[in-house]
Protein backbone atom coordinates (compact mmCIF):
# COMPACT_ATOMS: atom_id res chain seq x y z
CA UNK A 1 0.00 0.00 0.00
CA UNK A 2 1.01 3.57 -0.57
CA UNK A 3 1.19 5.75 2.48
CA UNK A 4 1.08 8.85 0.28
CA UNK A 5 -2.35 7.77 -0.96
CA UNK A 6 -3.60 8.43 2.56
CA UNK A 7 -2.41 12.03 2.29
CA UNK A 8 -4.19 12.44 -1.04
CA UNK A 9 -7.45 11.12 0.43
CA UNK A 10 -7.17 13.02 3.73
CA UNK A 11 -6.22 16.34 2.10
CA UNK A 12 -8.81 19.00 2.86
CA UNK A 13 -8.51 20.04 -0.77
CA UNK A 14 -9.60 16.62 -2.04
CA UNK A 15 -12.49 17.75 -4.25
CA UNK A 16 -15.36 15.93 -2.60
CA UNK A 17 -17.51 18.79 -1.36
CA UNK A 18 -16.46 18.83 2.29
CA UNK A 19 -15.58 22.53 2.25
CA UNK A 20 -19.26 23.50 2.12
CA UNK A 21 -20.21 21.55 5.27
CA UNK A 22 -19.60 22.76 8.83
CA UNK A 23 -20.46 19.55 10.70
CA UNK A 24 -23.06 21.36 12.77
CA UNK A 25 -20.74 24.24 13.67
CA UNK A 26 -22.74 26.89 11.80
CA UNK A 27 -25.85 26.14 13.85
CA UNK A 28 -23.85 25.88 17.10
CA UNK A 29 -22.16 29.22 16.42
CA UNK A 30 -25.48 30.94 15.75
CA UNK A 31 -27.02 29.38 18.87
CA UNK A 32 -24.08 30.65 20.93
CA UNK A 33 -22.75 27.21 21.86
CA UNK A 34 -19.46 27.82 20.04
CA UNK A 35 -17.95 31.21 20.81
CA UNK A 36 -14.19 30.67 21.02
CA UNK A 37 -11.40 28.11 20.76
CA UNK A 38 -12.31 26.53 24.08
CA UNK A 39 -15.95 25.87 23.17
CA UNK A 40 -14.86 24.76 19.70
CA UNK A 41 -12.65 22.16 21.35
CA UNK A 42 -15.48 20.85 23.51
CA UNK A 43 -17.76 20.76 20.48
CA UNK A 44 -15.14 18.82 18.52
CA UNK A 45 -14.55 16.34 21.35
CA UNK A 46 -18.25 15.60 21.53
CA UNK A 47 -18.53 15.26 17.79
CA UNK A 48 -15.42 13.05 17.61
CA UNK A 49 -16.79 10.57 20.16
CA UNK A 50 -20.23 10.40 18.56
CA UNK A 51 -20.55 11.18 14.85
CA UNK A 52 -16.81 10.74 14.33
CA UNK A 53 -16.72 7.34 16.02
CA UNK A 54 -19.77 6.12 14.08
CA UNK A 55 -18.33 7.34 10.78
CA UNK A 56 -14.97 5.74 11.55
CA UNK A 57 -16.62 2.39 12.33
CA UNK A 58 -18.56 2.42 9.08
CA UNK A 59 -15.51 3.51 7.08
CA UNK A 60 -13.28 0.87 8.65
CA UNK A 61 -15.87 -1.85 8.02
CA UNK A 62 -16.22 -0.78 4.38
CA UNK A 63 -12.44 -0.78 4.00
CA UNK A 64 -12.39 -4.35 5.37
CA UNK A 65 -14.80 -5.44 2.65
CA UNK A 66 -18.15 -5.49 4.48
CA UNK A 67 -21.12 -5.28 2.11
CA UNK A 68 -21.48 -1.52 1.51
CA UNK A 69 -25.26 -1.75 1.15
CA UNK A 70 -25.57 -3.33 4.61
CA UNK A 71 -23.36 -0.56 5.95
CA UNK A 72 -25.47 2.05 4.18
CA UNK A 73 -28.54 0.72 5.98
CA UNK A 74 -26.60 0.75 9.27
CA UNK A 75 -25.66 4.38 8.58
CA UNK A 76 -29.31 5.30 8.00
CA UNK A 77 -30.25 3.72 11.34
CA UNK A 78 -27.47 5.66 13.07
CA UNK A 79 -28.56 8.96 11.54
CA UNK A 80 -32.09 9.78 12.72
CA UNK A 81 -32.01 13.37 11.43
CA UNK A 82 -33.40 13.49 7.89
CA UNK A 83 -31.27 16.57 7.23
CA UNK A 84 -28.10 14.69 8.24
CA UNK A 85 -29.05 11.64 6.18
CA UNK A 86 -29.53 13.91 3.17
CA UNK A 87 -26.20 15.66 3.83
CA UNK A 88 -24.44 12.31 4.31
CA UNK A 89 -25.75 10.93 1.03
CA UNK A 90 -24.98 14.13 -0.82
CA UNK A 91 -21.40 14.10 0.44
CA UNK A 92 -21.19 10.38 -0.32
CA UNK A 93 -22.25 11.01 -3.89
CA UNK A 94 -19.71 13.80 -4.27
CA UNK A 95 -16.94 11.68 -2.78
CA UNK A 96 -17.88 8.77 -5.03
CA UNK A 97 -17.53 11.02 -8.07
CA UNK A 98 -14.08 12.18 -6.97
CA UNK A 99 -13.02 8.68 -5.89
CA UNK A 100 -14.02 7.04 -9.16
CA UNK A 101 -11.98 9.59 -11.06
CA UNK A 102 -9.03 9.21 -8.67
CA UNK A 103 -8.91 5.49 -7.92
CA UNK A 104 -11.22 3.75 -10.41
CA UNK A 105 -12.42 0.40 -9.03
CA UNK A 106 -15.23 -2.06 -9.81
CA UNK A 107 -16.45 -1.82 -6.20
CA UNK A 108 -16.88 1.94 -6.44
CA UNK A 109 -18.65 1.58 -9.78
CA UNK A 110 -20.97 -1.06 -8.32
CA UNK A 111 -21.87 1.16 -5.38
CA UNK A 112 -22.56 4.09 -7.71
CA UNK A 113 -24.88 1.87 -9.73
CA UNK A 114 -26.67 0.53 -6.64
CA UNK A 115 -27.05 3.95 -4.98
CA UNK A 116 -27.34 6.53 -7.77
CA UNK A 117 -28.61 9.13 -5.28
CA UNK A 118 -25.56 8.57 -3.13
CA UNK A 119 -24.52 6.24 -0.34
CA UNK A 120 -23.58 7.54 3.11
CA UNK A 121 -20.24 9.33 3.00
CA UNK A 122 -18.37 7.14 5.55
CA UNK A 123 -19.29 4.02 3.57
CA UNK A 124 -17.98 5.59 0.37
CA UNK A 125 -14.91 6.78 2.28
CA UNK A 126 -14.09 3.25 3.41
CA UNK A 127 -14.59 1.84 -0.06
CA UNK A 128 -12.42 4.62 -1.49
CA UNK A 129 -9.66 3.80 0.97
CA UNK A 130 -9.93 0.19 -0.19
CA UNK A 131 -9.70 1.26 -3.83
CA UNK A 132 -6.64 3.35 -2.97
CA UNK A 133 -4.97 0.33 -1.41
CA UNK A 134 -5.40 1.66 2.12
CA UNK A 135 -6.54 -0.24 5.19
CA UNK A 136 -9.28 0.11 7.82
CA UNK A 137 -7.12 2.24 10.14
CA UNK A 138 -6.45 4.67 7.32
CA UNK A 139 -10.15 4.91 6.48
CA UNK A 140 -11.01 5.44 10.14
CA UNK A 141 -8.33 8.12 10.48
CA UNK A 142 -9.79 10.02 7.52
CA UNK A 143 -13.26 9.80 9.06
CA UNK A 144 -12.28 10.99 12.53
CA UNK A 145 -10.13 13.78 11.19
CA UNK A 146 -12.93 15.00 8.92
CA UNK A 147 -15.32 14.90 11.87
CA UNK A 148 -13.33 17.61 13.64
CA UNK A 149 -11.49 19.45 10.87
CA UNK A 150 -14.77 20.44 9.19
CA UNK A 151 -16.15 22.27 12.25
CA UNK A 152 -12.73 23.81 13.00
CA UNK A 153 -12.34 25.24 9.47
CA UNK A 154 -15.93 26.44 9.42
CA UNK A 155 -15.50 28.19 12.77
CA UNK A 156 -12.48 30.07 11.43
CA UNK A 157 -14.73 31.39 8.65
CA UNK A 158 -17.81 31.98 10.81
CA UNK A 159 -16.28 33.56 13.90
CA UNK A 160 -13.08 34.89 12.41
CA UNK A 161 -11.40 32.62 14.95
CA UNK A 162 -7.62 32.79 14.85
CA UNK A 163 -6.65 29.97 12.45
CA UNK A 164 -3.61 29.10 14.56
CA UNK A 165 -5.84 28.56 17.58
CA UNK A 166 -8.21 26.39 15.54
CA UNK A 167 -5.33 24.28 14.31
CA UNK A 168 -4.01 23.98 17.85
CA UNK A 169 -7.44 22.62 18.85
CA UNK A 170 -7.07 19.89 16.22
CA UNK A 171 -3.56 19.09 17.46
CA UNK A 172 -4.82 18.76 21.05
CA UNK A 173 -7.47 16.32 19.84
CA UNK A 174 -4.88 14.03 18.24
CA UNK A 175 -4.59 11.52 21.11
CA UNK A 176 -8.40 11.27 21.31
CA UNK A 177 -8.50 10.71 17.54
CA UNK A 178 -5.99 7.84 17.88
CA UNK A 179 -8.16 6.30 20.59
CA UNK A 180 -11.33 6.69 18.53
CA UNK A 181 -9.71 5.04 15.53
CA UNK A 182 -8.60 2.07 17.65
CA UNK A 183 -12.07 1.59 19.02
CA UNK A 184 -13.77 1.99 15.61
CA UNK A 185 -11.44 -0.50 13.92
CA UNK A 186 -11.83 -3.02 16.75
CA UNK A 187 -15.61 -2.83 16.30
CA UNK A 188 -15.32 -3.13 12.52
CA UNK A 189 -13.26 -6.29 12.91
CA UNK A 190 -16.13 -7.86 14.85
CA UNK A 191 -18.60 -7.30 12.00
CA UNK A 192 -17.92 -10.62 10.19
CA UNK A 193 -19.02 -12.48 13.36
CA UNK A 194 -21.60 -10.14 14.87
CA UNK A 195 -22.95 -8.22 11.91
CA UNK A 196 -23.27 -4.45 11.61
CA UNK A 197 -24.82 -4.26 15.09
CA UNK A 198 -21.26 -4.47 16.39
CA UNK A 199 -20.46 -1.05 14.93
CA UNK A 200 -20.51 2.09 17.10
CA UNK A 201 -23.83 3.96 17.26
CA UNK A 202 -23.02 6.86 19.59
CA UNK A 203 -25.60 9.62 19.40
CA UNK A 204 -25.25 13.39 19.76
CA UNK A 205 -28.76 14.74 20.41
CA UNK A 206 -27.89 18.40 19.87
CA UNK A 207 -26.16 17.67 16.56
CA UNK A 208 -29.26 15.80 15.39
CA UNK A 209 -31.65 18.52 16.54
CA UNK A 210 -29.39 21.34 15.37
CA UNK A 211 -29.18 19.81 11.90
CA UNK A 212 -32.95 20.09 11.52
CA UNK A 213 -32.87 23.68 12.77
CA UNK A 214 -30.10 24.54 10.30
CA UNK A 215 -31.83 22.89 7.35
CA UNK A 216 -34.86 25.12 7.96
CA UNK A 217 -32.90 28.38 7.86
CA UNK A 218 -33.79 30.49 4.84
CA UNK A 219 -30.21 31.68 4.49
CA UNK A 220 -26.98 29.92 5.45
CA UNK A 221 -23.36 29.68 4.41
CA UNK A 222 -22.85 25.94 4.83
CA UNK A 223 -24.84 23.02 3.47
CA UNK A 224 -24.88 21.33 6.91
Amino acid sequence: MSRAALLVLADGRFPAGGHAHSGGAEEAVKAGRITDAESLERFCRGRLHTTGLVAAGLAAAAALGTDPLALDEAADARTPSAALRAAGRKLGRQLLRAARATWPSPELAALAAARPRGAHQPVVLGLTARAAGLGPEDAAYCAVYESVSGPATATVRLLGLDPFQATAVLARLAPAMDETVRSAVAAARRVPDEGVDALPRAAAPLLEIGAEAHAAWPVRLFAS
Partner: protein, 228 residues
Amino acid sequence: MHLDHATTFPERHTHSAEPVRADGTRRALRIGLGGPVGSGKTATVAALCRALRDTVSLAVVTNDIYTREDADFLLREAVLPPERIAAVETGACPHTAIRDDISANLEAVEDLEDAIGPLQLVLVESGGDNLTATFSKGLVDAQIFVIDVAGGDDIPRKGGPGVTTADLLVVNKTDLAPHVGSDLDRMARDAKEQRHELPVVFQSLRSDAGVAEVADWVRGRLAAWTAA
Protein backbone atom coordinates in the same frame (compact mmCIF):
# COMPACT_ATOMS: atom_id res chain seq x y z
CA MET B 1 -1.48 12.72 -27.99
CA HIS B 2 -5.22 12.97 -27.70
CA LEU B 3 -5.46 9.39 -28.94
CA ASP B 4 -4.21 8.35 -25.55
CA HIS B 5 -6.88 10.17 -23.61
CA ALA B 6 -9.38 7.35 -23.45
CA THR B 7 -7.00 5.38 -21.28
CA THR B 8 -5.02 8.18 -19.71
CA PHE B 9 -8.16 9.89 -18.39
CA PRO B 10 -10.66 7.14 -17.58
CA GLU B 11 -12.12 9.55 -15.00
CA ARG B 12 -13.64 11.52 -17.85
CA HIS B 13 -16.43 8.98 -17.83
CA THR B 14 -17.21 9.43 -14.18
CA HIS B 15 -17.42 13.14 -13.54
CA SER B 16 -19.60 14.43 -16.34
CA ALA B 17 -17.17 16.83 -18.01
CA GLU B 18 -17.48 14.77 -21.19
CA PRO B 19 -19.91 16.28 -23.68
CA VAL B 20 -22.14 13.25 -24.08
CA ARG B 21 -24.47 11.68 -21.55
CA ALA B 22 -24.28 8.02 -20.62
CA ASP B 23 -26.98 7.29 -23.22
CA GLY B 24 -24.87 8.85 -25.99
CA THR B 25 -26.90 12.06 -26.42
CA ARG B 26 -25.17 15.41 -26.13
CA ARG B 27 -25.58 16.88 -22.66
CA ALA B 28 -26.67 20.44 -21.92
CA LEU B 29 -24.25 23.25 -22.67
CA ARG B 30 -23.07 24.78 -19.40
CA ILE B 31 -22.23 28.45 -19.25
CA GLY B 32 -20.77 30.02 -16.13
CA LEU B 33 -21.39 33.62 -15.12
CA GLY B 34 -18.86 35.09 -12.73
CA GLY B 35 -17.80 38.52 -11.56
CA PRO B 36 -17.55 40.83 -8.58
CA VAL B 37 -20.37 41.37 -6.09
CA GLY B 38 -23.06 43.72 -7.34
CA SER B 39 -21.95 43.77 -10.98
CA GLY B 40 -25.32 42.46 -12.14
CA LYS B 41 -24.77 38.73 -12.60
CA THR B 42 -28.16 37.75 -11.26
CA ALA B 43 -29.96 40.48 -13.22
CA THR B 44 -28.17 39.29 -16.38
CA VAL B 45 -29.13 35.67 -15.65
CA ALA B 46 -32.76 36.74 -15.12
CA ALA B 47 -32.77 38.71 -18.37
CA LEU B 48 -31.17 35.78 -20.24
CA CYS B 49 -33.84 33.43 -18.90
CA ARG B 50 -36.59 35.72 -20.14
CA ALA B 51 -34.91 36.08 -23.54
CA LEU B 52 -34.23 32.38 -24.04
CA ARG B 53 -36.88 30.41 -22.16
CA ASP B 54 -39.38 30.31 -25.05
CA THR B 55 -36.93 28.65 -27.43
CA VAL B 56 -34.40 26.88 -25.19
CA SER B 57 -34.92 24.31 -22.42
CA LEU B 58 -32.80 25.81 -19.67
CA ALA B 59 -32.12 25.81 -15.93
CA VAL B 60 -30.01 27.81 -13.49
CA VAL B 61 -27.63 26.87 -10.69
CA THR B 62 -26.79 29.69 -8.29
CA ASN B 63 -23.78 29.80 -5.96
CA ASP B 64 -24.46 32.75 -3.79
CA ILE B 65 -22.23 33.53 -0.86
CA TYR B 66 -25.41 33.59 1.15
CA THR B 67 -27.13 30.69 -0.45
CA ARG B 68 -30.66 30.99 -1.86
CA GLU B 69 -30.58 34.78 -2.05
CA ASP B 70 -30.03 34.71 -5.80
CA ALA B 71 -32.29 31.73 -6.29
CA ASP B 72 -34.99 33.61 -4.39
CA PHE B 73 -34.46 36.67 -6.58
CA LEU B 74 -34.96 34.54 -9.69
CA LEU B 75 -38.06 33.00 -8.16
CA ARG B 76 -39.51 36.37 -7.23
CA GLU B 77 -38.88 37.63 -10.72
CA ALA B 78 -40.62 34.46 -11.93
CA VAL B 79 -38.14 34.06 -14.77
CA LEU B 80 -38.20 30.26 -14.49
CA PRO B 81 -40.37 27.75 -12.65
CA PRO B 82 -38.84 26.83 -9.26
CA GLU B 83 -37.88 23.30 -10.32
CA ARG B 84 -35.49 24.83 -12.87
CA ILE B 85 -33.49 26.75 -10.26
CA ALA B 86 -31.04 25.06 -7.88
CA ALA B 87 -28.94 26.69 -5.17
CA VAL B 88 -25.57 25.43 -4.00
CA GLU B 89 -24.08 26.23 -0.60
CA THR B 90 -20.44 27.23 -0.81
CA GLY B 91 -19.29 27.33 2.81
CA ALA B 92 -18.35 31.00 2.46
CA CYS B 93 -15.94 30.17 -0.37
CA PRO B 94 -17.73 30.77 -3.68
CA HIS B 95 -14.57 30.45 -5.77
CA THR B 96 -13.86 27.01 -4.27
CA ALA B 97 -17.26 25.73 -5.38
CA ILE B 98 -16.77 26.77 -9.02
CA ARG B 99 -13.08 26.07 -9.42
CA ASP B 100 -11.27 23.90 -6.85
CA ASP B 101 -14.04 21.56 -5.73
CA ILE B 102 -16.80 21.54 -8.30
CA SER B 103 -18.52 18.42 -7.00
CA ALA B 104 -21.56 20.15 -5.46
CA ASN B 105 -22.18 22.12 -8.64
CA LEU B 106 -21.91 19.01 -10.81
CA GLU B 107 -24.43 17.32 -8.52
CA ALA B 108 -26.77 20.28 -8.86
CA VAL B 109 -26.58 20.22 -12.66
CA GLU B 110 -27.26 16.48 -12.73
CA ASP B 111 -30.08 16.76 -10.21
CA LEU B 112 -31.78 19.36 -12.40
CA GLU B 113 -31.63 17.04 -15.38
CA ASP B 114 -32.82 14.10 -13.28
CA ALA B 115 -35.76 16.12 -12.06
CA ILE B 116 -36.92 17.82 -15.25
CA GLY B 117 -35.46 15.78 -18.08
CA PRO B 118 -32.84 16.61 -20.67
CA LEU B 119 -31.89 20.28 -20.87
CA GLN B 120 -30.20 22.26 -23.64
CA LEU B 121 -28.61 24.92 -21.48
CA VAL B 122 -27.58 25.30 -17.85
CA LEU B 123 -26.45 28.68 -16.56
CA VAL B 124 -24.17 28.41 -13.52
CA GLU B 125 -23.97 31.69 -11.64
CA SER B 126 -21.06 32.08 -9.24
CA GLY B 127 -21.32 33.88 -5.95
CA GLY B 128 -19.95 37.40 -6.07
CA ASP B 129 -16.21 37.15 -5.66
CA ASN B 130 -13.04 38.91 -6.71
CA LEU B 131 -11.35 39.39 -10.06
CA THR B 132 -9.40 36.14 -9.82
CA ALA B 133 -12.41 33.84 -9.60
CA THR B 134 -12.93 31.73 -12.70
CA PHE B 135 -14.82 28.53 -13.44
CA SER B 136 -13.22 25.12 -13.79
CA LYS B 137 -13.39 23.62 -17.26
CA GLY B 138 -14.65 20.49 -15.53
CA LEU B 139 -17.80 22.41 -14.63
CA VAL B 140 -18.60 24.76 -17.54
CA ASP B 141 -18.03 24.79 -21.28
CA ALA B 142 -17.85 28.57 -21.55
CA GLN B 143 -17.79 31.46 -19.12
CA ILE B 144 -19.04 35.00 -19.04
CA PHE B 145 -17.39 37.51 -16.72
CA VAL B 146 -19.64 40.37 -15.67
CA ILE B 147 -18.19 43.67 -14.40
CA ASP B 148 -19.91 47.02 -14.16
CA VAL B 149 -18.94 50.61 -14.83
CA ALA B 150 -19.64 51.64 -11.26
CA GLY B 151 -16.92 49.31 -9.98
CA GLY B 152 -14.35 51.63 -11.56
CA ASP B 153 -13.31 52.07 -15.18
CA ASP B 154 -9.84 50.74 -14.40
CA ILE B 155 -11.04 47.15 -13.90
CA PRO B 156 -10.38 46.03 -17.50
CA ARG B 157 -6.89 47.51 -17.24
CA LYS B 158 -6.23 45.63 -14.02
CA GLY B 159 -6.94 42.39 -15.82
CA GLY B 160 -7.00 39.21 -13.78
CA PRO B 161 -8.09 35.79 -15.02
CA GLY B 162 -11.79 36.70 -15.21
CA VAL B 163 -11.29 39.77 -17.37
CA THR B 164 -8.54 38.36 -19.56
CA THR B 165 -9.67 34.77 -20.18
CA ALA B 166 -13.49 34.68 -19.97
CA ASP B 167 -15.11 33.70 -23.26
CA LEU B 168 -17.25 36.82 -23.02
CA LEU B 169 -16.66 39.96 -20.97
CA VAL B 170 -19.79 41.92 -20.15
CA VAL B 171 -19.43 45.53 -18.99
CA ASN B 172 -22.75 46.14 -17.28
CA LYS B 173 -24.74 49.21 -16.19
CA THR B 174 -23.44 51.45 -19.00
CA ASP B 175 -26.34 53.80 -18.26
CA LEU B 176 -24.55 54.73 -15.03
CA ALA B 177 -21.27 55.71 -16.69
CA PRO B 178 -21.93 59.48 -16.82
CA HIS B 179 -22.99 59.45 -13.17
CA VAL B 180 -19.96 57.62 -11.82
CA GLY B 181 -17.43 59.24 -14.11
CA SER B 182 -16.47 56.06 -15.94
CA ASP B 183 -14.92 56.36 -19.38
CA LEU B 184 -16.48 53.65 -21.58
CA ASP B 185 -14.01 54.23 -24.43
CA ARG B 186 -11.13 53.75 -22.07
CA MET B 187 -12.71 50.54 -20.74
CA ALA B 188 -13.15 49.25 -24.28
CA ARG B 189 -9.52 50.05 -25.18
CA ASP B 190 -8.16 48.41 -22.02
CA ALA B 191 -10.36 45.36 -22.53
CA LYS B 192 -9.14 44.98 -26.11
CA GLU B 193 -5.56 45.17 -24.90
CA GLN B 194 -6.13 42.51 -22.26
CA ARG B 195 -8.36 40.21 -24.30
CA HIS B 196 -7.18 40.64 -27.88
CA GLU B 197 -9.79 38.91 -30.04
CA LEU B 198 -12.08 37.73 -27.23
CA PRO B 199 -15.46 39.50 -27.34
CA VAL B 200 -16.69 42.28 -25.05
CA VAL B 201 -20.30 43.44 -24.70
CA PHE B 202 -21.32 46.75 -23.16
CA GLN B 203 -24.85 46.51 -21.87
CA SER B 204 -27.49 48.33 -19.90
CA LEU B 205 -30.37 46.14 -18.88
CA ARG B 206 -32.46 49.30 -18.62
CA SER B 207 -32.02 50.09 -22.30
CA ASP B 208 -34.28 48.72 -25.03
CA ALA B 209 -31.58 46.37 -26.25
CA GLY B 210 -31.17 45.00 -22.74
CA VAL B 211 -29.53 41.58 -22.73
CA ALA B 212 -30.07 40.98 -26.46
CA GLU B 213 -26.40 40.99 -27.45
CA VAL B 214 -25.41 38.55 -24.68
CA ALA B 215 -28.41 36.37 -25.52
CA ASP B 216 -27.25 36.27 -29.17
CA TRP B 217 -23.79 35.23 -28.04
CA VAL B 218 -25.31 32.43 -25.93
CA ARG B 219 -27.43 31.28 -28.90
CA GLY B 220 -24.29 31.18 -31.00
CA ARG B 221 -22.47 29.03 -28.46
CA LEU B 222 -25.48 26.78 -28.20
CA ALA B 223 -25.66 26.34 -31.98
CA ALA B 224 -21.96 25.49 -32.10
CA TRP B 225 -22.34 23.04 -29.18
CA THR B 226 -25.28 21.28 -30.79
CA ALA B 227 -23.55 21.07 -34.16
CA ALA B 228 -20.29 19.70 -32.75
